[in-house]
Symmetry: C2
Subunit: 196 residues, 2 copies
């Protein structure tokens, strides 16, 4: 049996308990390696691959009207990585997805994923859950952006996602938090002063 795809099977095991169905699901995923700094998706292209990231670290980013990069998401091992709008609506992506470390994972195409959704009800429930959770966390982030200061947002990110700070340069984290890298640097100085 394809024991190399243990990661894929494990990922869906809670939602799809039956081993035979897990087999079918796992069959449709293919291994994917991405070098550091390489892209899974480029702005303007249509997202073709739904990736389950087994190891490594990635980020999504887009360009604002002045051409500055804005990091919109970070992805660690164990997370699904794809551009929701581009992948499901088959429209050109408004952002790029890039590896910040050497990455390995498993991909499936839109057509294959849809086939599985149609043939395995539990699998499409998992798929919907992934969408809904992404939606919910984006909403939380928006809420935090509106109601909290940059310093609080920084402190919370550091507490809840410390791995981001080990893998991403501060300028990416700054734009993710909605501030400039200078401001982030000042915030860090203030916090380090308080901790003396």
């Amino acid at each position: 049996m394809e024991n190399e795809k243990a990661f894929v099977r494990h990922f869906f095991q809670v939602g799809v308990p039956q081993s035979e169905k897990l087999d079918i699901i796992a069959q449709h995923f293919h291994e994917k390696l991405i070098d550091k700094h390489d892209h899974l998706l480029n702005e303007g292209k249509i997202s073709q691959e739904y990736l389950l990231l087994e190891s490594g670290f990635m980020r999504a980013y887009s360009l604002d009207t002045e051409g500055n990069e804005v990091t919109t998401a970070f992805y660690g091992a164990g997370q699904p990585v794809f551009d929701v709008a581009s992948f499901f609506m088959r429209t050109p992506a408004k952002e790029s997805i890039q590896a910040l470390a050497p990455c390995s994972g498993w991909v499936i195409s839109f057509e294959e994923l849809n086939k599985l959704f149609h043939s395995i009800p539990e699998f499409r429930e998992v798929g919907r859950g992934i969408l809904v959770k992404g939606y919910a966390s984006l909403k939380l982030r928006m809420q935090s952006m509106i109601t909290e200061t940059a310093e609080t947002r920084y402190a919370m990110l550091l507490q809840t996602n410390p791995e981001i700070f080990r893998q991403a340069p501060l300028k990416h984290i700054a734009s993710y938090l909605g501030i400039t890298d200078s401001s982030l640097s000042r915030i860090r100085r203030e916090i380090s002063r308080q901790h003396k």
Copy 2:
């Protein structure tokens, strides 16, 4: 025939062309009227109703840590209205949904909606499309929050969703834009000066 449910049928007609399937779908929706200022959903409750708004105007809002209301969404006629996370994950809602004008529409329960999703593939495609579009527009809003000034966000909202300004008080619009009502007032003054 249930011609009173023409709105529901029309809503799904593009995604579900077959009249017999539209019949089945329409059968599962029930009429709902909401008085001005009344709630479709209260924070802490589990969202039970997926609403298609036929007429009226609504908003979603939550409370920040200091107890201030933050408006997170506006809904006009023709839009689906529900708390994605609460409805699909069956968890307590983090926000409330309130009518800003007398509303009428059509609701379906989680169980009934799921039944339809499982039995009518085209219908679940429409359902996914609604989710994905909501996700995409929330992402756009986050991008705008990060890269644009409050004045630009105001100007764009006024241009793209002028109906909001006819139906919602400025304080709701302000928190939706991520600023205080005082700041919004100042922004409006500056813009009106420029237009002289």
